[in-house]
């Protein structure tokens, strides 16, 4: 792991000297499509359907970004990247933007020379146990065997949590989520730990989801968001404000259905500035005046994207919780369009 990390750092360094200053927007325009790095497969976040068309929560962001640039949500090609290849793919310019449930951390931002453009999902590591185990809280897990994916931040969080609570545990290291699921369902370990969105998806895939319980403790902060390479602030601005437009659209009541109608002009000056009927924000950011209209019409505003892919009415069934808009008591918040 450490070696890969160094590799990625060296790669990023090499590129920041070589490729800095290149206008990504011009390159993307010249190519005619956006190249977006996504997960090779994570339920609700990124998956190809039977026709090979990618959809999901992370994918929807890429479609919005492509729509803002080209006016066409399908003008995007997807590069599936793994946890190990994602940062070099971005640093080498193989992908223009990475939207792959990536946790925003200090070292990734500063040392790997990347720019996180915002947070689109507030996740956190949790535990899932069989109800029959009779455990109601993670503090009762002393001596438990824990299924854990190796080489991830979850492994380190787990060690920290048990040590700071003075508890012992027996780690069962596994490589993939699918393997973990099989082992956990087959009683090879008492508890399974990963991000809570992943736990919810795993629980939903069980034959009898009610026999599993997600423990209330959240032992880490995992703010997930899209990111771009250091060195091109205009491109980072575009990526950031497309995300902000989706979030603001929820707050201001702009949806995929009414965006076109509202773009003609409303009584709310902020909506007018965002959708381009007032001011010249499109020109400032280097896109057409109606860039935000296209972005919102791609897959809807933040709430629509959330509900369609991972919300309570999907098999994954995640509550908005911390991911509600700030005015509803959540953490999702966009700076104003002014």
């Amino acid at each position: 792991m450490k070696r890969l990390y160094l590799l990625a750092a060296a790669a990023a360094l090499g590129l920041s000297t070589g490729g800095a200053g290149a206008a990504t927007l011009d390159d993307v325009m010249a190519k005619g499509h956006l190249q977006c790095g996504v997960n090779t497969g994570l339920v609700g976040f990124a998956a190809p359907d039977e026709n090979g068309v990618w959809e999901g929560f992370d994918v929807a962001y890429c479609r919005a970004l492509a729509a803002a640039i080209f006016g066409d949500p399908m003008a995007v090609k997807f590069t599936p990247v793994t946890g190990k290849t994602r940062f070099t793919a971005l640093a080498s310019g193989e992908i223009d933007v990475l939207s792959r449930n990536t946790t925003w951390t200090f070292s990734r931002d500063v040392d790997l020379k990347q720019t996180f453009v915002g947070i689109n999902y507030y996740d956190g590591q949790g535990f899932m146990a069989k109800k029959s185990l009779g455990v109601g809280s993670a503090t009762e897990l002393n001596g438990a065997s824990v299924c854990i994916q190796t080489g991830t931040t979850t492994e380190l969080n787990l060690a920290d949590y048990f040590r700071s609570n003075g508890m012992e545990y027996d780690p069962i290291p596994i490589e993939t989520n699918a393997e973990a699921k099989e082992l956990f369902f087959a009683d090879a370990c008492d508890v399974y730990t990963t991000d809570r969105s992943g736990l919810a998806a795993t629980r939903a895939s069980h034959e009898d989801p009610d026999s599993l319980v997600v423990l209330p403790e959240i032992i880490s902060k995992e703010p997930l968001g899209p990111l771009v390479s250091h060195g091109d602030d205009q491109w980072a601005d575009i990526a950031r404000w497309v995300l902000n437009a989706l979030i603001s659209a929820e707050e201001l009541g702009v949806t995929a259905d009414n965006a076109m109608e509202m773009a003609a002009g409303t009584n709310n000056p902020e909506i007018n500035r965002m959708l381009g009927s007032e001011g010249n924000f499109g020109e400032m950011i280097g896109l057409s005046a109606d860039w935000a209209v296209h972005a919102i019409m791609a897959r809807g505003n933040y709430a629509e994207i959330f509900e369609r892919n991972i919300g309570v009415n999907t098999p994954i069934g995640l509550e908005r919780g911390a991911n509600a808009i700030w005015s509803d008591g959540g953490l999702v918040y966009s700076p104003p369009f002014r």
Partner: protein
């Protein structure tokens, strides 16, 4: 002494063997219950097989083929076979088998990979079976270009000009005296033909729809990487093995260095180099295809192992064979081609085929660098919330497909060994 000793005058008519020695009973007595140990092993094995089938057959058969999601599968199975029955959800294979085979290749163009595969069999047959007319070897030589063009599409002039360049070069080379000059003529003509292909395309655009590497996946990817690696690693491996046994110091040092370096590094590392490091070394803007990079790395990896397998064959030949070839007055290449290699390769067949099979199975490692081979695709399919939670069905399908390919290779190697064994006597 009168003749009390009895001497039979006529031969007795042959009798049929006792019933305990013939038929199923006799076969079982001999093969399954020959000794106490044998009998115990037979009973244990039979119990294991029965237990395995008793567990797996109901799961395989009490299944659903028509549902549209895992939960629907479970409902249908419990409706049909009763509550609490666990059955396979083969519906996922029915819905996704084309994706498992072709990845994201456009469905209206599936004929192209299929045709490529059929032509591959055609191109391989004269190489594999000596009874096929030799003239078809010409097609085998041209096939790599045809296959490349069919799979990736684009202008026909690029591959065509290279083939034409080779043809012209070989034809012209026959009129040149020295080997070095022959090679120079060949390279020159290929280069020139490749340069004019661009003009040909603008003059007469002929081509089929180009397909990007990112659209390839599934078994199409495994077979493409595997076949290319297999076909290229054998000649490269032979050259490396000859280089390693050569007396020329520099050639030998290069070959030993290459082989030992590659064998000292895990394939995963090479794949990471291909996927992440290589494109950092290249100038920004170059787009060096990921699959091409992976194919190169896999080929280099297999070549190093192949070289050692063949070197084993070379070492196993008695010294007298080398001396006999020298005594006949053959030069180095002739003695290698006519005397040494036919024998050395024959000895190495089991090792060569093992390397091939290993290489083909190793292609699944590309899922680690994000290429969607069958294993990578099974993760992607599971990420569809309809099929989240399906494991055994997908892996079972992948295993079955790999078994078909690898078993065929293994049987061919046995056929070849038997055939060469006979022709040797």
């Amino acid at each position: 002494m009168d003749g009390t000793t009895f001497v039979r005058k006529e031969i007795l008519a042959a009798q049929s063997p006792p019933t305990s020695e013939i038929g199923i009973g006799g076969w079982a007595r001999e093969n399954l219950f020959g000794s106490v140990f044998n009998s115990v092993m037979t009973v244990l094995s039979a119990t294991a097989v029965v237990l395995f089938l008793a567990e797996s057959l109901p799961w395989i058969l009490q299944s659903s083929w028509t549902a549209n999601s895992l939960s629907e599968c479970r409902e249908r199975i419990s409706d049909r076979y009763g509550e609490g029955v666990h059955g396979a959800c083969w519906s996922v294979i029915r819905e996704r088998y084309l994706q498992m085979l072709f990845g994201f290749y456009p469905s209206e163009l599936y004929w192209r990979p299929i045709l490529t595969f059929v032509l591959l069999l055609g191109a391989l047959s004269p190489v594999l079976f000596p009874s096929i007319p030799r003239i078809l070897l010409v097609f085998s030589a041209v096939y790599p270009f045809v296959g490349y063009w069919l799979l990736w599409g684009g202008s026909i002039w690029g591959p065509f000009s290279i083939v034409a360049g080779f043809a012209i070069g070989i034809f012209a080379g026959q009129h040149v005296k020295y080997r070095i000059a022959m090679i120079a003529v060949l390279i020159l003509s290929v280069y020139l033909c490749f340069r004019i292909s661009g003009y040909l395309q603008t003059a007469a655009p002929v081509g089929i729809e180009p397909i990007e590497s990112a659209q390839m996946g599934g078994f199409l990817l495994s077979v493409t990487i595997g076949t290319t690696g297999i076909v290229l690693s054998l000649p490269i491996g032979i050259l490396l093995a000859l280089g390693r046994t050569s007396d020329l110091l520099i050639v030998k040092a290069i070959c030993v260095g290459f082989i030992e370096f590659i064998r000292g590094v895990p394939l995963i590392t090479l794949l990471f180099v291909a996927s992440t490091l290589l494109n950092l070394f290249m100038p920004p803007g170059t787009n060096f295809d990921l699959i091409l990079r992976v194919v190169i790395m896999v080929t280099l990896f297999a070549s190093a192992y192949m070289a050692e397998v063949i070197r084993g064959g070379l070492a196993a030949l008695p010294r007298g064979q080398y001396e006999a070839a020298d005594a006949l007055g053959l030069d180095y290449w002739k003695s290698i081609r006519l005397v040494i290699l036919p024998q050395a390769l024959k000895i190495s067949i089991p090792g060569i085929v093992s390397t091939f099979i290993g290489l083909f199975k190793d292609t699944t490692l590309v899922s680690i660098i994000g290429l969607l081979d069958p294993l990578g695709l099974s993760t992607s399919i599971r990420a569809d919330s309809d099929w989240n939670g399906i494991v055994w069905e997908l892996y079972g399908f992948v295993a079955l497909m790999f078994f078909i390919f690898c078993f065929a290779m293994s049987r061919y190697s046995m056929y070849l060994e038997r055939k060469l064994e006979i022709s040797n006597h």
